[in-house]
Amino acid sequence: MKYLFIFLSFLYLNVLAIEPNEILEDGDLEKIAVEISKELRCLVCQNEDIHNSNADIAKDLRILVRKKLESGESKKEILKYVHDRYGDFVLFSPPFKFQNIGLWIIPLLFFLLMTFFFFRKS
């Protein structure tokens, strides 16, 4: 029995936070809802999207995303709505702007630096 528990604990269990009553009947809309949910960060979690989070705010946002999709809003409009209220932090891909320019240029600078050290003549 002990070994069974150890074996089970090593299995990857894809436990979803989304509840059955949240899922939309329209398969196409549900697909977009999942896409949006994976682009939005759960604000009270550590690096988790709202699709996979059990937090209260994540659930509220998931429901709101689906409500807005059903009322005819586009993915772009919904992402803008949430972004307007919670700022760049809520997006997993923050927009390119001066305040967060470091996010975009540091990897490039780091790459240049590493390339130099890797290929320099010894």
Partner: protein, 167 residues
Amino acid sequence: MRYFLIVIFIFILVIFYKGLKKDPTVIPSNLLSKEIPEFSISSFSGSTLKTKDLRDNKVKIVNFFASWCPPCKIEHNQLLELSKKIPVYGIAKKNTHDDLSKWFENNGNPYTRVGMDTNGEASIEWGVYGLPETFIIDKGGIVKYKHVGPLMKRDQEHIEKIIKKLQ
């Protein structure tokens, strides 16, 4: 080339060092310096609480709370004190009327009016991500300050200073 790379290295170090000093729990509010958002919810008294009710040319506090939220109890006394000086509006998140009645009976009611955010949508409209959160609204209906977490005794003085400035 070598000096250029040294500059890049120092630049990266400085940015990382600055990042170390930031508090990851502080999320800046996108609502600051903007008008209060559009919302309309039922009120505790049975009528409706909407954006228009908060645009009455008065400096006010809008507090998001719930009777089920333990930190909200910590700040309750501070809100009672502040309500003697300024209107305090409450928005109760996912609270039943009965639970809220009991909460006010036991702890007192600091609120001028209370809105019932039964599904959490008004909280999202205000960019609230946890309870309690407190906003200070100026006479023109602009959000001037946001406090995340319970208002402690030490915060009360700071809040009163901001209110005085706005009045």
